[in-house]
C-alpha cells in the first residue's frame, strides 16, 4: 500500500466509485464497510426497464463491486467500523474495529465519508398509521423483487390491486424529514411501469402529493395513459386485513373517509440520514445541515475529509456517481 | 364535308356548351361491346373519349374501338399515351386513325405501367405528351413528321390535352398548361372536379392568363355509384374529394341517388364558371347512368351541327383516298 492511502468509510455506491477512481489513478484506498459485503443498498436494486429502458441509472453501476473487490490497490474491510480518527490532513491514523478486534491504519492522507442513508425508520410514518403485516412492503423490498424478476414477471402470483404510498417518511416535519427525498417519485413510478408491463390487468394506484424530479408534463400523462391512477392525498392509515385496506380522505369530498382494498401496498420510503451519522459526525468532526444530513464544517481541501453520496442529502444514482468521481478528482488533485 | 372539322370542334366553335363522355374498350376482341357502349351514348354526347389502355390495363386499342364507335354514329376522341409507343409507332398509328376518319385526338402521358395488369412491362416515354401535341400540331400545320420530313397527306386532328387543376406543384402545373396551349392544344379536358371552389380559383388563373380563349376548357365530372367508388377516387393522385362529399355519401341511404345528385350539383356549379366550354363525364363502372345524368342536367338536346351528321367512315376513307390519289 502506498504511503498516501485514502480511507473510505462506507462501501456503498459512493464509496466504491470514489475508491475505484482513486485506485485507477494509483492511489491506494481502504474501504471500511460495516456490512458483510460491498454495495450497500444499490446492490439490491432492480432494473426498471419495462419494454424499454426507463433511465433509472442503475446501468452505470454495472459490475462496480467486482471491479472494486478485484482491484489490487483497494483493501476492503468488511464487517468493520471506524471507531476513532486521529491526526490531520495528510497524516491521519484510523482505528477500525471488526469482529476480531481493533486495528490501527496509519498514513491516511484523506478520508471519504460515504456512509449512505437509511430508509424510513422502522416503516412508520407520523402521517400514516401502519402496524405492519403481510401485503405491505417497503420500496426497497420492491426493488429486491424487481432485481429477481424473470422473463415472465415479478411476483409468483399476479396481484390484482397495488397501491403506492408516496412521500412515506418524506416532506414531513413530524418525521423530522422536512424535505423531499427526490428519488421516490422516480423509482416508484418506474417500478409501476415495470409492473404494468408484466401485468396489464393489475390496478395500480398512487397516493401522492406532487410529482417530483420528472421533468416535463408529459411524463405524468404517459403514466396516466398506462392506466396508472393518481389520488392526490396522503392516506390516514393502513387498516390491517385480508386484503389490507387504505383509509384516506376522498379529495374534494370535504373530508369524507374512504377505504380501499389492496393486495399489495408499497411504502415509497425516502432517504434519511444514516443511523451511524451521529457517531461518524463526532469521530470525523462533521456538522449537520437543516435536514439532518452531514456536512463538512471546514474546507475539505484543508481537513482532508470529504463527503460523497447520500450522506449529505438525497441524491439519484447518476448524481452520486458523478459526485463521487468529483471527490476522487479533488483528492487526486490534492495528492498530486 | 368541306373542312374536315370534327363535330366536337364545330360544337365548340359555335359556342355551344359541349358534352362528352367515355367509352372504355373491353379487355377482349368483342366489337359488339364497343358498339353497344357507343349506341348508348348516341344523341347524348357531342363526342366520346375512347381510352388507350386506361390505368395501364391491356385492352382493345383506342383507334380500333374509335372506329367501331364512329360506325355507330358516335364521334370518338382517340386517346394516345406516350407510355406504350415510340415516335415511330405513334405517328404511324395516328396516320392510320386519321385515315379511318377519326378527327379528335387527346394526347396523354398515360398512367404508369406499375398501376396496371402488366407492371413487368417496359415503358417507352420516347416523347412526352406536350411534345406529342406539338408534333401533331406541326403535322397539321406544316405537314411534317417529327423528323421534319414532309407527309403528302398529314393527319389534322382537333388536338386535345389533359389539365390537372389539383395536381402539384400548382404553379408548375399552370406553367405546363401554358406549354400545352403553346404546343397546340385546342381543347383541354380536366381531371375530375369535386371541389367547385378550388376549381373556380383555378379557372380564374386560367382566365387571367387568357388560356380559355386559346383553348376550350372541358371540365371533367366523375359520377360515383357508391361510397366505395368515391373513396377509391379520392385516393387517386391529382383528384381531391372534399370530406363533406364523402360524409354525404356515408350518411345517405341511397348511395346511387346521392352520387347522381352530387354529379348534378357539380355540373351545375361548373356551368356557371366563366370560361368553361364544356363538360366531360366519366362514369367508371357505371356507364349506364351517363344518359340519365346528361338528361337530368338539362344538357339535351345536343346541337345538330350541319356538315358533320353521320360521318360514315367509308366516306371518310374514300375522301382520304381521293385526296391522296
Amino acid at each position: 500500500m502506498s504511503m498516501s492511502a485514502v480511507l473510505v468509510i462506507g462501501g456503498g455506491l459512493a464509496g466504491c466509485v470514489t475508491a475505484l477512481e482513486l485506485a485507477s489513478r494509483g492511489i491506494g484506498t481502504v474501504i471500511v464497510e460495516k456490512d458483510r459485503r460491498l454495495g450497500g443498498k444499490v446492490r439490491d436494486y432492480g432494473c426498471k426497464a419495462a419494454s424499454r429502458c426507463n433511465q433509472c441509472g442503475l446501468c452505470i453501476v454495472g459490475d462496480l463491486w467486482a471491479r472494486v473487490s478485484e482491484h489490487s490497490d483497494i483493501e476492503v474491510l468488511t464487517e468493520s467500523r471506524l471507531v476513532d480518527l486521529i491526526g490531520t490532513k495528510g497524516n491521519y491514523k484510523a482505528v477500525v474495529r471488526d469482529k476480531n478486534g481493533s486495528r490501527v491504519i496509519d498514513g491516511i492522507s484523506d478520508i471519504v465519508v460515504s456512509i449512505g442513508f437509511d430508509g424510513a425508520s422502522s416503516a412508520t410514518s407520523a402521517q400514516v398509521q401502519y402496524s405492519g403485516g403481510r401485503g405491505v412492503i417497503s420500496g426497497l423490498k420492491l426493488e429486491q423483487l424487481l432485481a429477481q424478476r424473470g422473463r415472465h414477471g415479478i411476483f409468483d402470483e399476479a396481484p390484482s390491486r397495488i397501491a403506492f404510498l408516496q412521500c412515506f417518511g418524506s416532506r414531513d416535519i413530524q418525521e423530522k424529514a422536512p424535505y423531499c427525498s427526490r428519488v421516490c417519485c422516480g423509482y416508484s413510478t418506474r417500478a409501476a411501469r415495470v409492473i404494468r408491463h408484466h401485468y396489464p390487468e393489475t390496478e395500480i394506484t398512487f397516493f401522492y402529493m406532487d410529482l417530483q424530479e420528472v421533468e416535463g408534463g408529459t411524463y405524468f400523462d404517459v403514466l396516466k395513459k398506462e392506466n396508472i391512477e393518481f389520488i392526490p392525498c396522503r392516506p390516514v392509515s393502513i387498516v390491517k386485513g385480508s386484503p389490507n385496506r387504505v383509509l384516506y380522505e376522498q379529495p374534494g369530498s370535504g373530508g369524507r373517509l374512504v377505504e380501499r382494498e389492496f393486495d399489495l401496498i408499497v411504502l415509497s420510503e425516502g432517504i434519511h440520514p444514516a443511523a451511524d451519522s451521529d457517531r461518524i459526525a463526532e469521530i470525523c468532526t462533521l456538522g449537520y445541515d437543516r435536514n439532518g444530513f452531514l456536512k463538512t464544517i471546514s474546507d475539505s481541501g484543508k481537513t482532508g475529509i470529504y463527503l460523497a453520496g447520500c450522506v449529505s442529502g438525497p441524491k439519484k444514482i447518476p448524481e452520486v456517481y458523478a459526485e463521487s468521481l468529483q471527490v476522487a478528482q479533488q483528492i487526486w488533485g490534492g495528492v498530486r | 364535308m368541306t373542312d374536315n372539322k370534327s363535330n366536337l370542334q364545330r360544337v365548340l366553335e359555335a359556342g355551344h356548351f359541349s358534352v362528352s363522355a367515355e367509352i372504355g374498350p373491353p379487355m377482349s376482341a368483342n366489337a359488339d361491346f364497343v358498339r353497344k357502349s357507343a349506341r348508348a351514348l348516341l344523341g347524348y354526347v357531342d363526342a366520346a373519349n375512347v381510352t388507350d389502355n386506361q390505368t395501364a390495363i391491356a385492352r382493345m386499342s383506342s383507334i380500333a374501338a374509335s372506329y367501331l364507335a364512329l360506325q355507330e354514329g358516335v364521334e370518338p376522341i382517340v386517346q394516345m399515351t406516350c407510355r406504350d409507343r415510340n415516335r415511330l409507332a405513334i405517328q404511324s398509328d395516328l396516320l392510320g386513325a386519321y385515315a379511318l376518319g377519326l378527327r379528335n385526338l387527346l394526347c396523354l402521358s398515360g398512367d404508369h405501367q406499375t398501376f396496371g395488369n402488366h407492371p413487368e412491362s417496359k415503358n417507352v416515354y420516347d416523347i412526352d405528351s406536350i411534345q406529342l401535341v406539338r408534333a401533331m400540331k406541326r403535322m397539321k400545320e406544316e405537314g411534317v413528321f417529327i423528323n421534319g420530313k414532309p407527309s403528302k397527306q398529314p393527319a389534322k386532328f382537333f388536338l386535345g390535352a389533359a389539365a390537372h387543376p389539383f395536381a402539384d406543384p400548382p404553379e408548375l402545373q399552370m406553367i405546363r398548361l401554358h406549354k400545352k396551349v403553346d404546343a397546340g392544344a385546342e381543347f383541354l379536358q380536366t381531371q375530375s372536379i369535386y371541389d367547385i371552389e378550388r376549381f373556380s380559383e383555378w379557372m380564374e388563373e386560367v382566365r387571367k392568363a387568357g388560356l380559355h380563349k386559346r383553348a376550350y376548357i372541358l371540365a371533367g365530372v366523375l359520377v360515383n355509384k357508391s361510397l366505395k367508388s368515391l373513396e377509391m377516387t379520392s385516393m387517386v393522385a391529382g383528384i381531391k374529394v372534399p370530406e363533406h362529399l364523402i360524409e354525404r355519401m356515408r350518411k345517405t341511404s341511397d348511395q346511387q341517388e346521392e352520387g347522381l345528385s352530387i354529379a348534378l350539383e357539380l355540373i351545375n356549379g361548373i356551368r356557371r364558371i366563366e370560361g368553361v366550354a364544356g363538360i366531360h363525364i366519366m362514369a367508371v363502372g357505371w356507364e349506364s347512368i351517363v344518359p340519365t345524368l346528361i338528361e337530368r342536367a338539362g344538357l339535351l338536346p345536343r346541337p345538330d351541327m350541319p356538315g358533320t351528321e353521320a360521318v360514315s367512315s367509308e366516306e371518310a376513307i374514300r375522301e382520304g383516298g381521293k385526296k391522296d390519289a
Binding site: C47, C53, G217 | -
Partner: protein, 463 residues
C-alpha cells in the same frame, strides 16, 4: 487549456467566470450560424467558423434556452423578468403565480417561483400560486416552500385550467381536488412561468457539433453517461437545458461540467479503440456516419487516402467495425471473431454485450452451474460490434447462437443494440433463404440487473 463556449445563453457569463477561476481559458462563439463544424477530438478540437478555425481543448454547447409565454392570449408578466418589482411598484394587493400549465411542468422554474412568492408574501401582497405539481425536490426548496406558506402565500394544485380576459384582469378557472371542484380567481397581476424550450437553433447546433439530441431536443436529457452534461461526443458538453436564471441547479450543472472536463483532462490514454487499415479503406464514410461518438474522420495525412480513428474520441464500441463494407476497421481489443483455435465448448454460442448481458450472465452463474459447460460466451464491447458474418460463422460450430444486448434506449453507444438486432434479423433471413431454421439464432435484450432473465433465456435456448 482553451474551452470553447458555443451558443447564446444567459449562463455564458457565469460559466465564463467559473472557467477563469479554474484557470481555464474560455473562448466564446455565440452565433451558431458562424460555425461550419467541429473537427478533432477531446483536447484538440478545431471549431471551423466562417472566419477561420478556433482551437479549443473542450467544447461546451450552451445554446438556449428559449423562453416563451405559454398563454399569450391573456395579459401577464413573465416569471423570470422583473415581475416582482413591477407588482410592488404598483402597490398591488394581490398577485397570482402560475407555476406550470397543463401541458408542461417546468420543475426548473419552481425555485424562481417559490422565491418570488415568498418575496411578495413577505411584502404583504396576497399571493396565490397555482400549480399542477409543486416541485420542491432540490436542496432547500422544501424550506422555501414552507417559508412562502409561512408568510401566507396560498398554494393551490389544479388539474385543469382555463382563463378568461376582462380588460386588464384575468379570471382563472381552476379545477381542483381531482376535478371535483372549480374555483375562479380574478387578478390584475398574473405572473406566468415561461415555457422553456431548447430553441430553434438547437438541431442546427447539434448537427454542427455532431451531438445527439433526444426527441425533446435535449443532449443532456436522459443520457447514458454519468455527468448529465456529457454528450455522445467526448469532450463536448451540453448545458443548453438550463433554467433562465442562475439557480442552484444551474450552478451545480456548471460545477459538474467543469469537474467532468478536469477528469477528461486527467484521464489516461484510451486503450481500446478502432484502427483503420488505410490500404483497405474505400473512403465510403460509412464509419463516419455510423459512429455515434464522432470518432471517425478523414485522415488529414495527404499520403493516406483513408479514414482514421480519433483514439481519444473512441469508446471502442465496434459499430464501425461491423458496418465497414471493406472490412477495413478492427478494434485494438477483443472482437467477436470466432477463431478456429479458440477453445470451444458446448452447443450454444452467446455473443453478449459486456455492459449488460455479460454482467447479467456473471450474476446468474450460481443458477447456471449445471449448464455452464454447455455454453461458450463471447463478450463484445457493444452489441454494435456483432456482425451477420460472425453469427453465421459461429453456426458452423455451434448448434445455436444467442445474441444478448442492452434494452432499447439503454445502449451507451446509442445505436449498438439496434444494429445488433438488424444483424440478427439479417442472419435469420439468410438462414430462412436456404431453408434452415432461423430459430438457431436467438436474440434477447436485457440489462445487467436481470440475471434471472438471462438464466432463463440461456436455459431455454439450450432447450
Amino acid at each position: 487549456m482553451r474551452i470553447a463556449i458555443i451558443g447564446k445563453s444567459p449562463i455564458n457569463e457565469p460559466l465564463k467566470e467559473r472557467l477563469l477561476s479554474e484557470g481555464l481559458t474560455p473562448v466564446l462563439v455565440e452565433n451558431i450560424n458562424d460555425i461550419l463544424g467541429v473537427v478533432g477530438q477531446k483536447g484538440d478540437f478545431a471549431i471551423r467558423t466562417r472566419y477561420g478555425d478556433v482551437e479549443a481543448g473542450y467544447v461546451i454547447a450552451t445554446q438556449g434556452p428559449e423562453l416563451s409565454n405559454p398563454v399569450p392570449e391573456v395579459p401577464s408578466l413573465p416569471l423570470s423578468g422583473s415581475s416582482v418589482q413591477n407588482i410592488l411598484d404598483k402597490n398591488a394587493k394581490q398577485a397570482v403565480l402560475l407555476l406550470d400549465y397543463p401541458d408542461e411542468s417546468p420543475g426548473i422554474m419552481t425555485e424562481i417561483a417559490l422565491k418570488k412568492a415568498a418575496e411578495l408574501a413577505r411584502k404583504r401582497v396576497n399571493v396565490v400560486c397555482l400549480a399542477r405539481f409543486i416541485r420542491t425536490s432540490g436542496g432547500y426548496l422544501e424550506q422555501l416552500y414552507r417559508e412562502a406558506r409561512h408568510f401566507n402565500a396560498v398554494f393551490i394544485k389544479y388539474s385543469e385550467l382555463s382563463m378568461d380576459c376582462f380588460e386588464n384582469a384575468v379570471v382563472i378557472h381552476a379545477r381542483i381536488n381531482e376535478g371535483n371542484e372549480t374555483i375562479s380567481i380574478k387578478t390584475d397581476n398574473l405572473i406566468i412561468a415561461e415555457k422553456i424550450s431548447a430553441g430553434e437553433d438547437i438541431r442546427e447546433m447539434a448537427s454542427r457539433l455532431r451531438i445527439h439530441l433526444d426527441d425533446e431536443g435535449k443532449a443532456s436529457g436522459d443520457n447514458p453517461f454519468v455527468f448529465s452534461a456529457m454528450t455522445n461526443r467526448k469532450g463536448v458538453f451540453a448545458l443548453h437545458n438550463t433554467s433562465p436564471g442562475l439557480t442552484n441547479e444551474t450552478k451545480e450543472m456548471i460545477d459538474y461540467t467543469i469537474a467532468a472536463i478536469k477528469m477528461e483532462m486527467a484521464a489516461g490514454k484510451n486503450s481500446g479503440h478502432a484502427v483503420v487499415d488505410a490500404d483497405k479503406c474505400a473512403l465510403c464514410y460509412t464509419c463516419y456516419r455510423v459512429c455515434t461518438h464522432a470518432a471517425m474522420a478523414p485522415d488529414p495525412n495527404p499520403d493516406r487516402s483513408a479514414m482514421m480513428n480519433l483514439e481519444e474520441a473512441c469508446y471502442g464500441c465496434g459499430i464501425c467495425v461491423s458496418q465497414c463494407p471493406a472490412a477495413a476497421v478492427r478494434l485494438t481489443e477483443a472482437g467477436m471473431e470466432v477463431k478456429p483455435e479458440m477453445a470451444m465448448k458446448g452447443s450454444l454460442k452467446i455473443f453478449c454485450c459486456e455492459n449488460s448481458a455479460k454482467l447479467a450472465f456473471e450474476r446468474a452463474k450460481p443458477e447456471l452451474e449445471e449448464i455452464y459447460d454447455k455454453v461458450d460466451i463471447t463478450p463484445v464491447s457493444c452489441g454494435g460490434e456483432i456482425t451477420t458474418a460472425g453469427i453465421l460463422s459461429a453456426l458452423h460450430r455451434y448448434r445455436k447462437v444467442l445474441v444478448a444486448v442492452c434494452m432499447d434506449d439503454a445502449c451507451k453507444h446509442l445505436e449498438g443494440n439496434k444494429r445488433a438486432k438488424r444483424q440478427v434479423l439479417k442472419a435469420q433471413q439468410l438462414l430462412k433463404s436456404i431453408a434452415m431454421d432461423p430459430g438457431r439464432i436467438e436474440y434477447v435484450q436485457l440489462s445487467h440487473a436481470m440475471p434471472r432473465v438471462m438464466a432463463e433465456t440461456v436455459i431455454e435456448a439450450l432447450g
